[in-house]
Amino acid sequence: MTSPFVQPFGDESLGDNLLNRSEEMELNFGPQHPSTHGVLRLKLKVDGERIIDCYPIIGYLHRGTEKLFELHPYFQNVPHTDRMDYVAAATNNLAYVGAVEKLMGLVVPPRAGYIRVLLCELQRISSHLLWLATHAIDIGAMTPFFYTFRERELILDLFEEYCGARLTLNCMRPGGMPHDLPVGWIEKCRVFVDGFLPRIDEYEGLLTENRIWKKRTVGVGVLDPQVAIDYGITGPMLRGSGIDWDMRKQMPYEVYPEMQFDVPLGKNGDTYDRYLVRMEEMRQSNRILRQCLDQIPEGPIMAKRPRVMKAVKDGEVYHGIEGPKGEIGFYIVGDGTPNPYRCHVRAPSFINLQSVPELCKGALIADLVAIIGTTDIVLGEVDR
């Protein structure tokens, strides 16, 4: 298996001049490393401190999720989807149940739709908070980690009150929601929403204008828009390069057509822009949350669905939603039995990871850490 390494650094026409030779060293940025956000292995070819090439090796967290989907009926597969992007479980759940509903032709009642959007936006904030924590600590700023986790605890408490778990939620079912909101949940959520915006300002005060932060992130990992589209990159990485593509606006699902929010875009496509895009996304998610809390209707939470859900024979569907890391999609093929025939996941981290070798050519190793951080990968999704 050959890897596409580039030509060695240096101009060969100048001969074997001592100054011109590159001392290439192969370095293993191993699976166990504090800043690879999971078990990602990168084989780097470095010349001194500059990276010449980078070859990611994944598969250390492969659990055969897509095969597991085929063994059980549709509604039992929801816990498996939690564990792919374990940081943002609700959006995974939503993508899966959305795909199943499309396949079966189920219509979700409006209250369930609002609860789903509430959970997804809370999950988006929580995922971005974790991203900020790990990105900042990789670059060296220790305190945003603790401040963001303080807010994340509040969100996880809200999830716990709703569905009983904090991280692997299992909170949606094909056709609606399993439980209704408990008493007092909406008030608690409102307390969180009202108190969250000053916190984002606190993180921004620590990082956004800080000259050291800017020096580490401006101009690092510049992603050309055309290259991004060619690779199929979605999410804040794409929007940081200036392309206006957000599934919630382009192909709306659930109750997003009724929500008013803006989609932040970056200008230069570097790490700093992606950082600003994600911070602004948190603010916009807060805005959506407020609208949801105000507009949530009463009503049933589960659609009328058959006891045993059998799919149409040879029915296939793809349903993609905007997760915090990009477009997460499920491609399900049904074969007339209660179990899916094939269920493939379009994992955004897997596809965004393709850009890392591109972005880190010519960068220093310290920049590589920033680049992995800004790609916001979760290995559970990459490896499934």
Binding site: Q76, P79, T143, G164, D180, L181, V183, R211
Partner: protein, 181 residues
Amino acid sequence: MSALKRFLDKIRSATRSFLDKAKRNAKLFADKIMLLDLFAGLGITFKNMFKKKVTVQYPEERWEPAHRFRGMFRLDEDRCIKCTICARDCPIDIIYIDWHQEVNPETQKKEKLLDRFDIDVQRCMFCGLCEEGCPTEPKSIWLTTKTYELASYDRWDNLYVDMDELQEWKTRPAYTDEEIA
């Protein structure tokens, strides 16, 4: 006369734009030299020194989970109608149920008796689908709330829980219905 006025206007606007640019540049200059961004960051951490700390001093203080928290199982054999829906619904097939039918000598009716109801907790992910599938009211198998401290010194204490242990688990509040929001 109007030419003079236009001339004066031009001078006025030129000076105004020059002053604005000078003010902006001076501000940028002062910002960079006076390290205001760094001091802003220092101020934030300093203020946080005096704010409330979020540490929970475990084990003296314990975090009380929510009402719906999915903790450890409990089984109630009397309520259980041995429908095995929970075993069927489990995504990882860790519930093992054996039952047989017998004629009850008192009521002369056939009824089901439970031989084995074991849960392999090694692989359980506490997803709650078994509880959701249970058709009895109140449920016969449920995930007790507020039981999250499941550590033990012996591997076999907790990893494979059989019928008796499931019923005599620590006395914790049982799952009940509650009002909706």
